[in-house]
Amino acid sequence: MDKPLANLGTVFTSIGQDHPRSDGRRKVMGAATYTAEWQIPGLTYGAVVDSAIARGTVRAIDASAALAAPGVLAVVTHENAPRLHALPSHGAGQQITGEGGLGEERQPLQDGTIHYGAQSVAVVVADTPEQARYAATLVRVTYDSQPPELDWHSARRQKSPKMFAGTDLLQQSADDARAAIAEAPVRLERKYDSSINHHNPMEMLATIAQWDQRNGEEFLTLHDTTRAVSLLRDVCATSFGLPSANVRVVSHFLGGAFGSKSWTFFNPLLVALAARVVNRPLKIEWRRQQMFSVAGHRPPTQQTLSLGASRDGRIAGLVHESHTHSSPVSGYIEPVARMTSMMYDIPNIGFSNRVSHLNLPSPCVMRGPGMVPGGWLLECMLDELASELAIDPIELRLRNYAEKNPATGQPFFNKRLRECYARGRELFGWDSRPSVPGARRVGNHFIGQGMASSTHPALQMGSSAQATIFADGSARVRSATHEIGNGAYTALGQIAADGFALSLDRVHIELGDTNFPTAIPAMGSMTTSSVGPAVLSAARCALAALKELAIRDAESPLFGAAFFAVDAREGRLFLRGQPSVGEEYSAILRRAGRTEIVADSTSPAGKEIKQPEMYSFGAVFAEVRVDEATGVVRVARLCGVYDVGRLINPRTAHSQLMGGMIFALGATLMEESLYDPQSGLPVIRNLADYHIPSCADTPQIHVEALNVPDPNIGELGAHGVGEMGCNGVPAAITNAIFNATGKRMRRLPITPDQLLAN
């Protein structure tokens, strides 16, 4: 289409409506097909053997007993697995390999080196899952083991990379900040530690790999639990030395990801390798126990924050230092200063990030990367300063309110955090909070209230979509993005419906297939903001093509009309001002002998559309009850007020924000993975030991969004909401515990034993 596509007369009618999820019926009937559920003829099953040591090499693998077991087709190890080419260094606009990269560099079964405990060392393939699982117990692996490196401070390989993912600065000189702190009348320096968290989506990692020969060429089809089909296609193509067109990746529904299922390429590559050896379709479902070694995790942090302020609470300088750890085969580092670097109007800010490479599994992004542990520390320190100076915590934040991003000097566009504070204060009843800790008791419980700010970048990246209007008057949009629980089928459907000028029930959305136009991974809270514009534009292009067809058709009532004089509504084109003159989409296509009309569109990346300082902001409030005798903390209430631009669907956005808040409650009070300090092997390997919030842990929750479209992020005006609900909650709860008990809890998770010992 050469026509300018703005002002086509499309009015937003579906966008902003509270539609029930489009995929709701399929999900409540068990009819949504997740990765492990595809019915593939001739399917074989794999079971993975884990290493029993954390560092060393495999001396020998005796597979004879396994091979003799019923149904076993093969045992695939580094000795018989095909060789792979190295991973690409970048993908989806992010750095994958090297220090600061997001992915694990190690590829499966390429050598016998053991980098961490419970590393996959062999795959047993059999006719049934029971046969494979049993035979995997018969594989005998012997090792030449070495003492694992498990100490952060003595680790030989310690690095301070410049950039996270190639996009976020990790080091900034602290000289000016230290000088400012030295001169400040009020100085605070505190250490805060956070622990390892695992995503633990309810659906575990799974892959079905299938190789085909067609016209002498090899083709690989993967059904995989990935939220990045386009990226995984490229990674597989590079690794196997295939053209991208010879790899297809399908992922229609994901049972949650929360940061996992994108940058861990090990699992799909392993299944593809083993499938090639047996030359049969192969399925591997990782077990919950293995999710603690192969699925990635949020690494722990040891953080120090120093600040200097005036007696009226203006912060003059701040230094945020962090130490974390990664594996020997990953450059991932938790970018804890993301919030510190931009949140408050502080003239001198320094930060540093250091990583020790240990013989522990590879970390990766987890919901709110950097923002959750780093923002926790920053927002707790604001609370410490507030109580030191006897200033209300909201007032202290307002005194340091940033109109400009201190990192760039550029003004924030459309920042509405003041409104969030004010509305949250009212909704939560903040002003009745006793400012003195330990002042409120009910029975054996101390009651306390705390608050924190929340933020997340409102990012946008280029993505593509294809739109089709069919002769029956229905329409379809395809894009290689994902439904991970984010409501993508619904929100993108609403956007498409408005682009097509159709009702939502006439629009069919298809996602999660590399046969569809390329899109970004479902990451960084930017699916809606990135894929949404492509969907809207593609739908409008298809509609524009339909208009062209009508106005050039002598038999159409719209024949000869000016392009911009033709409007569309609910599947019908008509003359503006003369709605009776017009016809249905289906009539136009049928008369033209067309079954469909197709249009493609690509949305520009944020940087190309002159991205200003775009962030989401929010204010979070918590009320806790702390049992004096047991130290058990129960969160009674959470209240969040957020500015995330326009809500495409208030219902699904509310659910995502609410779910994020409860997710972060888990990180605050219960979630911690442990590795044996001698062997390096995972100690926590199941959901009875790794506690995530249950129904009974759920507090009363009140979520509000300002719902003001942000014109800086395009016509849709929508930010993402996936991570905003998480950020801020850990500090709000920690600050509420201080308000309840007078105890400053500086380690996550805040467990009863620590509260009693403090």
């Binding site: 997740y34 045992v75 994020g660 919030p693």
Partner: protein
């Protein structure tokens, strides 16, 4: 280390087959003595609505009804339930596609996001009401805490059960 024959003769125990009564229909499955109801459903009958979230009884995603009582399909061996009536999420809606009031309430209250734990949540929720454990929100929260939801749709799940409780009485 590839087995040259690429196919073994199966042992006697693996040849055994059994019939499971699922949602009112008989399904013949090859019942390895180790086969769980969960794997039988997902790998042999094509009924994949019942989900595998941990495979060892900790998450509730595989909850089905056995003679009307909720059980964890991952901890139930297929050969042990011959002659019993298994109801899965696929058996909850009417033959004409009319949703069970609990399924409809889950949609109406947005009681799920990714949808993976949802079939198990709904099977437990139906049992929660039928067993008279849905008297208050606190009671519902307690009963439903064996079904984990990482998306944390919990408040909406409770609201859905409260609504369906009334509809199921009618």
């Amino acid at each position: 280390m590839i087995n040259p024959s690429l196919s073994h003769s199966t042992t006697e125990s693996e040849e055994a087959s059994t019939v499971l009564r699922i949602n009112g229909h008989d399904h013949r499955i090859a019942a390895d003595a180790r086969t769980t109801v969960l794997d039988a459903l997902r790998e042999q009958t094509g009924l994949t609505g019942t989900k595998k979230g941990c495979d060892h009884g900790q998450c509730g995603a595989c909850t089905v009804h056995l003679d009307g009582t909720p059980v964890l399909a991952c901890l139930t061996l297929a050969v042990s339930v011959r002659g019993r009536e298994i109801t899965t999420i696929e058996g909850l809606a009417g033959e004409d596609g009319t949703l069970h009031p609990m399924q409809q309430a889950f949609i109406d209250h947005d009681a799920f996001q990714c949808g993976y734990c949802t079939p198990g949540q709904i099977m437990s929720a139906v049992a929660c009401v039928k067993e008279g454990q849905a008297g208050s929100c606190a009671e519902i929260q307690e009963f439903m805490s064996g079904n984990l939801c990482r998306c944390a749709a919990y408040p909406n799940i409770v609201a859905a059960i409260v609504e369906a409780r009334e509809a199921m009485r009618r």
